[in-house]
Symmetry: C2
Subunit: 416 residues, 2 copies
């Protein structure tokens, strides 16, 4: 089916580049973008048109690092040091996901919250509970969220949610065999080096190779953690090598945080095709630091953004984009690295993750549409008529779910 969306189109077709088409036309064939036009070519004059009027049509967001079972503790425990936070909140909250009915309710709420906030792509940590993980994937699928979910592996230093090594592996295989979702795919998820024995890491590396699965984990979030990893792996010069040793450091591996990744670690990411996921709010909340995003980009590392709930308190990815800009301004003041502009940060929070998931950058031809329709009419009355680029910036800073009138995910209208 051929159809047209009409509205004020704004997108970032490449990093740092903003393209605006006031009153433009987006041509779709079965949900796949076939063209963007400033005026509609005559051959499409008879196609059905959805006219979004004065609203903005923007690419939707991709949240490439978040912990689904921490959604219930969003915005709590933020005054605690990392280890107390893990013990008082994180592990105890995650332990609740043995209860399938609870998992169903919380994950339905989370999936709906993601869509109504404009997030249609994710790379998500579940917990170590296989059934709850499958429920999570079902609920994402139902709401229209696409991307990756990982059942978490953790067989040491993990409090109430620690697994036996054998059980961790057999449950992972049971989970993988049960994954049959059209838009939500599995990703192997060793929690992080301190919570996985060498035996588990080796077996997961083998599984990744055998079933050709992507991998996600955490890297160089804070200095205490880095020192701990060094103790656990005295043979590894740097943190990343503990993943590389077991075949988990490979193209498409997602590494959250990278706050303290130095030039050598960054180069190892670029060389291997490993992605960094920048989680600015979490890094500040937990006093981890500000990640060297500009340096990662300059060294050729692919960077996407994550909300990292519940270390992060902002599920809405436009707020995560703004926090990435703020963190980059703080780094500029400290180190002189140029801050992220609005189009740059928006690209990292939308197109980057979309490309990771096999989609296009912005409204790229040949890829299923991922978009949000933003009604900014109720925002403060401006002093003069605004350029579309200005309305785009204002929407990134100010919008919340009340402004999001419709959401398209993988070519389907899933909200509004």
């Amino acid at each position: 089916m051929t159809e047209i969306l009409k509205g004020n189109l704004v997108h970032t077709p490449s990093f740092g580049r903003l393209e605006t088409l006031p009153g433009g036309f987006l041509l779709l064939e079965d949900g796949v973008v076939r063209g963007l036009y400033r005026s509609l070519p005559r051959e499409y004059a008879a196609c059905p048109v959805t006219d979004w009027g004065e609203a903005l049509i923007l690419p939707s967001f991709a949240d490439m690092h978040l912990h689904a079972p921490q959604y219930p503790m969003l915005g709590m425990g933020m005054d605690l040091p990392l280890l107390d936070w893990l013990n008082a909140y994180t592990f105890r909250t995650e332990a609740r996901f043995t209860d399938a009915a609870y998992a169903r309710r919380v994950y339905r709420q989370l999936a709906e919250d993601l869509i109504s906030s404009g997030t249609t792509r994710v790379a998500m940590f579940s917990s170590c509970h296989t059934d709850a993980t499958l429920i999570l994937m079902e609920e994402l699928e139902r709401a229209g969220v696409t991307g990756y979910v990982g059942r978490v592996n953790m067989d040491r230093n993990s409090g109430a949610v620690q697994e036996e090594t054998e059980a961790s592996l057999s449950e992972t295989r049971r989970w993988l065999d049960a994954c049959r979702f059209p838009h939500v795919r599995p990703i192997l998820t060793p929690r992080f080096t301190p919570s996985c024995t060498d035996e588990l890491m080796a077996a997961l590396g083998e599984l990744a190779r055998e079933r050709d699965l992507p991998v996600q984990s955490h890297l160089s979030e804070n200095s205490g953690e880095i020192a701990w990893v060094r103790e656990l792996h005295p043979d590894c010069g740097q943190y990343w090598e503990t993943y590389a040793k077991y075949g988990l450091w490979k193209p498409g591996t997602l590494m959250a945080h990278c706050v303290h990744s130095d030039s050598r670690e960054r180069q190892a990411m670029a060389d291997a095709g490993v992605w960094a996921v920048h989680c600015a709010a979490s890094n500040v909340n937990l006093c981890s630091g500000t990640a060297p995003v500009r340096r990662l980009l300059d060294q050729g590392v692919q960077v996407a953004l994550g909300s990292d709930i519940a270390g992060g308190d902002l599920l809405a990815m436009n707020k995560a984009v703004v926090m990435a800009i703020r963190a980059s301004k703080l780094r500029q003041m400290e180190t002189g690295e140029p801050f992220l502009t609005v189009p740059e940060a928006f690209y990292l929070g939308s197109a980057a993750g979309c490309r990771y998931c096999g989609g296009g950058a912005g409204f790229e031809t040949g890829y299923p549409l991922h978009a949000i329709v933003v009604d900014d009419a109720a925002m403060p009355e401006p002093a003069r008529s605004l350029e579309l680029a200005e309305r785009f910036e204002r929407a990134v800073y100010l919008m919340d779910k009340r402004h999001i009138r419709a959401v398209y995910s993988e070519g389907r209208r899933v909200l509004g």
Copy 2:
């Protein structure tokens, strides 16, 4: 009239102290707080009760630095350097307020936005337009916002909105004579030293003394500004002395920012009873820095918070409280100064400004009620039943106007 509010009461009666009364009772007489009770004393059993059920009742917020005529440019121009931002957006936007009808529309929207976001106290900059300033005060009064508004004085270096010295003074007198509002009072507002001639500063100091008026301005926001002030006033060792020289540095003077105030400048504030208004979002957005809030407090300076729209992009003061916490965590990482806890930052964003305006700290007996009723039922379902202090923290981080069911200002219910 005696009445009772019932609900989950949480407030900060002093800096850093959180008091929680689950299912508590707040006794009001003609809107003035007369007592807080865990169970209702028998003599009040016949009083009318407003039962807010499971909702939280918290003190409302005080926004002690914001620019009303910059509301139309909220969330725009954030990638520009300060001077370009001033010229491309600020002065041109402020110039629109010669138009009374435009001022009426924008200020009505702003006043309603403040109340529905839970802000009932302000110290606000208007523009240099007398009539628009009176319209602003009327609209605040109508919506239920209380506090201070200043007609801005600026007779040099001020682009499209610069005034003649004489006109600035005569218009200020005309404005003062026309101020007849029960809850919104005038405050003298020299924009900042670089935009006021010595003659204007001297006359304003005289006016402040003569009519016993408070004063608000800006201090030590960024290093370029500080160098400029030094050039303009080679006789003054520090920025603050340019205000002191003209009688504007006195008890109750509000100074926004103080990002670069060193120990001597901080001591001068403490000694004179001058208040610092911390505007964390603005300071990051404009790459000014992070203010030494803990040091200001330790030296005995009174500190309140401001949204500083539109240098700040967050009108909702709970978000400004969270940004103050984030900025303090960044400073802790940099300097070791302990970060602001949630109760500390909440006190600065509510009780501090309320006390500045002559009110009480939290639900202090003897003062008119300023409160919000927060319904957190739609927040993520927790993994266990939460303590009231946890719900309070979560509300500070997550709430937006959808959660605010009612607002009380100066003892009157102004929303819900």
